[in-house]
C-alpha cells in the first residue's frame, strides 16, 4: 500500500436501512473495504451481483451517503468530506447505463458535460472535436445518439466522462452488453488514457476478460473483500488443471465418476450443465474419465489452465458466467 496513492479508501462500510414491508431489515452491503488506486493504475472490483462492488463505487463517487465512522476516503492526500465538490470536479464516472442524452448529438452531449465544469466557448469546442476524433465518432458527431449503436453510445459516454480531464475515472460495469469489437475499443481507449495522462482507473466488473486487463483486482463477495492481488497472482493461486465436463445429466454423472474413480464427490463442482474438477495432471485424468464412463454420457470434455473465472468460482462458490448470463437476461 503506497503512501502516495491517488485514491485511498479505509474501512469503508455501508448498511442498507430497514427495507419496505416484507423485506429483510438492515443488512451490511459492504464491510471493512480498503482500496488504493495509484496514478496510472487500473484497479478492478470483481464480484457477482450484490457483492458490494456497486455500493463501494456509489460511496466513493458520493451517490450514497457516508455515515460517521463508516470509513475514510483520501484523494491526492486530502481527506474527503461527504459530498466533496472539489473531488467531484476531478472525477469522471461511467455508469452501468450511459449517462448521455439520447436525443442530443455526441457533440452536444460533450459540450454540455464540459459546461458543467465551466469549460465553454472555443476551448470546449476544441476539446470536444479532439475527443470525438479519439473515439472515432467525428463523422457522426452531429447525429442524435439514439441513431448510433450501443457501442458508439458507450464510447461517447467514455469521452464524456474524461473530456474535462479528471484524475480519477470510475466505471461501473462499463462493457455490459457490448460486442467484442466495442469491448476491445473501449479498453484500448482506457489503456491509452492511463498511459498518456496518468489517469487512475477504478472499474467494477464481472467479466473475466475485463478483470484480466486490470493491474490489480479486489474480489468481493457479500460485502467482504476476499482477495486483493494482481490477476496473475490470483490465477497462480490455483495450481491445478481444470477439467470441464459437459453432460446432459451432470449431477448423475458426478455421482458416477465419484463412485467409479474413487473421487470425493465434494471435490466435483456442478455448475449449470458442467462438472468442474481440479487436478494436478488434468490430461491423465481426462483419459481415465473417458475410459470409465459409458459412451454417450459425456457431451464434451476440456482441460485448461485456470482463468480468473475459475479463481472467482473458487473464492466465492459462484460462477461468473452464470452471473453474467443472469444479468443479460434481466436486462
Amino acid at each position: 500500500m503506497s503512501p502516495g496513492a491517488r485514491l485511498r479508501v479505509r474501512d469503508l462500510g455501508y448498511q442498507f436501512e430497514r427495507g419496505r414491508a416484507g423485506k429483510p431489515a438492515a443488512r451490511a452491503a459492504l464491510t471493512n473495504f480498503d482500496l488504493d488506486v495509484q496514478r496510472g493504475e487500473i484497479v478492478g472490483l470483481l464480484g457477482p451481483n450484490g457483492s458490494g462492488k456497486s455500493t463501494a463505487l456509489a460511496l466513493i463517487v458520493g451517490l450514497l451517503p457516508r455515515r460517521v465512522g463508516s470509513g475514510t476516503l483520501t484523494f491526492e492526500g486530502r481527506e474527503l468530506a461527504t459530498n466533496d465538490r472539489a473531488f467531484r470536479a476531478r472525477l469522471g464516472v461511467v455508469f452501468q447505463q450511459p449517462s448521455v442524452d439520447r436525443k442530443l448529438s455526441a457533440r452536444e452531449n460533450l459540450l454540455l458535460a464540459l459546461g458543467m465544469h465551466g469549460i465553454r466557448g472555443r476551448a470546449a469546442a476544441e476539446r470536444t472535436r479532439e475527443q470525438l476524433e479519439l473515439a472515432g465518432l467525428a463523422e457522426r458527431a452531429d447525429e442524435p445518439l439514439k441513431n448510433l449503436s450501443g457501442g458508439m453510445r458507450r464510447r461517447v459516454d467514455l469521452v464524456r466522462a474524461v473530456a474535462h480531464g479528471p484524475s480519477l475515472l470510475v466505471l461501473d460495469e462499463p462493457t455490459t452488453g457490448l460486442d467484442e469489437l466495442s469491448f476491445r475499443r473501449m479498453w484500448a481507449h482506457l489503456e491509452a488514457l492511463r498511459e498518456q495522462t496518468g489517469l487512475a482507473i477504478l472499474v467494477a466488473t464481472h467479466r473475466p476478460e475485463e478483470a484480466a486487463r486490470c493491474d490489480r483486482l479486489l474480489v468481493l463477495s457479500e460485502g467482504q473483500t476476499l482477495a486483493n492481488e494482481t490477476p496473475s497472482n490470483l490465477v497462480a493461486r490455483l495450481a491445478d488443471d481444470i477439467l470441464r465436463i459437459r453432460a446432459s445429466e451432470p449431477a448423475a454423472l458426478a455421482r458416477e465418476l465419484s463412485s467409479a474413480m474413487k473421487i470425493d464427490l465434494d471435490t466435483i463442482e456442478v455448475v449449470g450443465a458442467e462438472l468442474v474438477l481440479h487436478h494436478p495432471r488434468g490430461h491423465e485424468l481426462l483419459v481415465e474419465i473417458i475410459e470409465s464412463v459409458a459412451r454417450g454420457r459425456i457431451d464434451a470434455i476440456t482441460v485448461q489452465r485456470p482463468t480468473l473465472a475459475d479463481v472467482f468460482l473458487h473464492l466465492t462458490g459462484r460462477s461468473l458466467e452464470l452471473e453474467q448470463a443472469g444479468e443479460v437476461e434481466a436486462a
Partner: protein, 287 residues
C-alpha cells in the same frame, strides 16, 4: 456504420487533458444552471410533440369545455362574464402545470439511467440542479403561455388591458413552484406510471378546485376552505387579475395577496426539492 468508425486504431489522446483551474462553488453552480437550461431549450426546439401536448391540448380543452358549458354558466356577481372568458386564466395555469409535469417527468428515468447521473457526480450543487431544471422549465412555460395568450381576444379579453409585469411575475412564480413540487415528486417516485398516478389523483384535481373551472361561490360549503388551501388557486387568481389589468371581475384574493402567496410557495417548494434531492441521491440501486 463506416469502416473508420469500427477500426481498432490507437485511441491515445494527443495531449494530456489538463483540468480547468478550480472554479468557485458559485461559478460552478452557475455553469450547471446554464447547462441544464440550455439542454431544456434544445429539447423544446426539437420536440414538436411537446408543443401539441402543452399548448394545443389546453386550448382544445378550453374551446370544447368552454363552448359546451357556456349556456349553463352564470355568475350573479359578474353579469355578462361568459364561460370562455372565465375559463381562460385557468387554461393559462393549465399550460404552466402541463409544462412543469411533462418537463419533470423525464427526471425519473434521467436520474436512474440518463443525463442526470453525471450531474449527480459533477461539481455542481444539488441546489443548482433544482434551480437549473426550474430555470429551463420556467422559460418553456413562459414561451408556451405566451403563445396561448394569442388566443385571449377569442375569449373576449383585450391584450391592451393586460398588466404584463404582473402576468409575467405570476407565470414565473407559479412555474417555479409547480416545477419544484413536480421535480420533488418525480425524484421520489421510481416509475413514470407512479408519476402519472399522482398527476391524475392530485395535480389535476388541484387544478379543478383552483377556481379555474368554477368559483368558490358554488354552494358547496367544503369548497371555499379547500380552494383557500390550494396553492394553484393563487396562480389562477393572479393570472385572472393580471389579464384584467389588476382587478378581475371575480376572484378569491387580491393580486398582491396572490403574488405574495405564490412567492412563498415557490420558495418553500424549491427548498423542499433541494432538501429531497440532497437526502435521496440514489434510488433503487442494487448493491
Amino acid at each position: 456504420m463506416t469502416s473508420s468508425v469500427e477500426t481498432l486504431a490507437p485511441l491515445a489522446p494527443s495531449t494530456e487533458l489538463a483540468p480547468r483551474a478550480e472554479l468557485s462553488g458559485f461559478a460552478t453552480d452557475l455553469a450547471l444552471i446554464g447547462v441544464l437550461w440550455r439542454r431544456d431549450m434544445i429539447h423544446l426546439l426539437r420536440e414538436r410533440s411537446r408543443w401539441l401536448g402543452v399548448v394545443v391540448q389546453p386550448l382544445l380543452f378550453w374551446g370544447l369545455i368552454g363552448s359546451g358549458l357556456a349556456g349553463a354558466f352564470a355568475l350573479p356577481t359578474a353579469e355578462g362574464l361568459g364561460y370562455l372568458e372565465y375559463l381562460f386564466p385557468g387554461i393559462l395555469a393549465m399550460v404552466v402545470l402541463f409544462t412543469a409535469v411533462f418537463a419533470t417527468m423525464s427526471v425519473i428515468e434521467d436520474r436512474q439511467q440518463g443525463f442526470l447521473q453525471q450531474v449527480m457526480v459533477g461539481p455542481g450543487s444539488r441546489a443548482a440542479l433544482v434551480l437549473g431544471k426550474t430555470a429551463g422549465v420556467t422559460t418553456m412555460a413562459l414561451i408556451q403561455a405566451g403563445l396561448c395568450l394569442l388566443a385571449a381576444p377569442l375569449a373576449g379579453l383585450s391584450l391592451a388591458a393586460v398588466d404584463w409585469p404582473s402576468l409575467a411575475l405570476a407565470l414565473v412564480l407559479g412555474c417555479i413552484g409547480l416545477t419544484a413540487i413536480n421535480f420533488t415528486l418525480a425524484w421520489l417516485v421510481d416509475s413514470t406510471a407512479g408519476y402519472h398516478g399522482i398527476l391524475s389523483i392530485v395535480l389535476l384535481p388541484l387544478w379543478i378546485v383552483s377556481g379555474a373551472m368554477f368559483p368558490a361561490a358554488s354552494g358547496l360549503p367544503w369548497l371555499e376552505p379547500v380552494m383557500r388551501a390550494n396553492p394553484m388557486t393563487y396562480l389562477v387568481d393572479a393570472l385572472r387579475h393580471s389579464l384584467y389589468g389588476g382587478v378581475a371581475p371575480v376572484s378569491h384574493v387580491s393580486l398582491p395577496v396572490a403574488l405574495v402567496v405564490l412567492a412563498g410557495c415557490a420558495l418553500a417548494f424549491v427548498s423542499l426539492a433541494v432538501w429531497v434531492v440532497g437526502r435521496r441521491v440514489q434510488a433503487g440501486r442494487a448493491a
